[in-house]
């Protein structure tokens, strides 16, 4: 058990510092640690955990809380959450003062514009990894595409879209397009 907690910490702490341009960018790395390296979850269980984390209020990175909970109970939930939030918290406390004193410096522009393509690549990789792990075949992919289109065109509340996705999926299932388990 203690061993599991240490493994969780070592798996997640480095990824905390690799979170650039928002929480989504660390997702492919977290999936790789949890599914490919440690086999704590299957890729489909990972997608389910992701879905549950998006139904919940709060930052989307609370996915790691759920992973920690599945891997090592409540202690795991606490360790996983701290591992993802504490390293960058310390970094912010150390660097935020320096950062605001040198606003507009050349190295800041370089860091901001330089990390942008990397973050974009990582976030698209997150979407790709999740789609690969998603069950249900073409009907669920269709739901993803339609929902993405709606989100890009309008400002619908995400909860409404999650509900819509659930209902559509039930409809596809009842029509026999998605095989039962």
């Amino acid at each position: 058990m203690a061993n599991r907690l240490v493994e969780l910490m070592f798996a997640l702490t480095p990824l905390s510092l690799a979170t650039v341009g928002g929480g989504q960018s660390s997702l492919p790395g977290i999936q790789r640690q949890v599914v490919t390296i440690h086999h704590w979850m299957t890729s489909q269980q990972f997608v389910d955990a992701y879905a549950i984390s998006r139904m919940s209020p709060g930052p989307s990175s609370l996915l790691v809380t759920l992973i920690g909970w599945r891997v090592a109970g409540s202690a795991g939930a606490v360790v996983a959450t701290l591992s993802i939030f504490i390293p960058t918290a310390l970094l912010v406390l150390t660097l935020a003062g320096v950062w605001s004193r040198h606003r507009g410096a050349r190295w800041q522009t370089a860091l901001e514009t330089g990390l942008r393509p990397i973050a974009a690549g990582l976030i698209i990789a997150a979407g790709y990894v999740l789609i690969r792990g998603m069950a249900g075949g073409w009907p669920t992919r269709l739901i993803t595409i339609v929902t993405t289109g709606i989100l890009l065109k309008s400002r619908v509340t995400p909860l409404l879209l999650l509900g819509g996705g659930m209902l559509l999926c039930i409809a596809f299932y009842e029509l026999g397009f998605i095989p039962g388990k």
């Binding site: 480095p14 990824l15 650039v20 928002g22 929480g23 492919p28 790395g29 790789r32 389910d48 992701y50 879905a51 549950i52 998006r54 139904m55 919940s56 709060g58 930052p59 989307s60 990175s61 609370l62 759920l66 939930a77 959450t81 918290a89 935020a96 950062w99 050349r106 800041q108 860091l111 901001e112 514009t113 330089g114 990390l115 942008r116 990397i118 974009a120 690549g121 990582l122 976030i123 698209i124 997150a126 979407g127 999740l130 789609i131 998603m134 069950a135 249900g136 669920t140 992919r141 739901i143 993803t144 929902t147 993405t148 509340t157 995400p158 909860l159 996705g165 999926c169 039930i170 388990k181």
Partner: protein
């Protein structure tokens, strides 16, 4: 600029309540907008400029943006204890909620529709991720090098499943170096 604050000075308890309120009323992202409302408009603990400054720092530094804002705003208002309370207020309520929701799903797991419902939720929530990705791609400069580095990052991490840390260390260093050189070209005396 004249400041019309504070309506009432923050205490650790009201600070926690304010962050918890933002955390529990936001779903699927967009939290920084809620924070502006809570801290600038409603409680008047910060003026808008201070908040936007905190926002830009939070986006530039590594980490989850909303957690970074909470830490920095908490620190500015009440020092180190404020930073701890800020992080706790943003993270703890959601962490409890996510486990309760997961527990609820385990309870209804035997029903045959449960996996279908979860599948539908997954399909829609992946769209949230894709939308963030598309927005991020749109913000990348339309130049050969950044577009190449973006594609290389996607292929290395998404398709080849290489370590995020290594890919970031190598491609990130190249990208920042190129951006540094370009920033020098745009402003010769910068």
């Amino acid at each position: 600029m004249r400041r019309s604050r504070p309506a009432s000075a923050p205490t650790l308890l009201t600070l926690f309540a304010a962050f918890a309120h933002v955390s529990l009323t936001s779903f699927g992202g967009g939290m920084s907008g809620w924070m502006l409302r809570e801290f600038v408009t409603h409680r008047r603990w910060l003026d808008e400029e201070e908040f936007l400054n905190a926002l830009s720092i939070s986006q530039a530094l590594p980490g989850v943006n909303v957690a970074n804002i909470a830490i920095w705003v908490g620190y500015r208002l009440m020092g180190f204890p404020g930073a701890v309370i800020g992080l706790l207020g943003i993270v703890a309520p959601g962490a409890v909620a996510v486990i309760l929701i997961a527990g609820g799903f385990s309870m209804i797991a035997p029903y045959k529709l449960t996996p279908i419902v979860l599948m539908g939720a997954a399909a829609a929530s992946i769209a949230l991720s894709l939308t963030i990705g598309i927005t991020a791609v749109r913000r990348v400069q339309r130049k050969v090098v950044p577009l190449f580095l973006m594609t290389a990052t996607f292929v290395a991490v998404g398709i080849l499943r290489w370590s995020t840390l290594w890919v970031m260390a190598i491609l990130g260093a190249v990208s920042i170096t190129v951006a540094y050189r370009d920033a020098g070209k745009d402003t010769p005396n910068g």
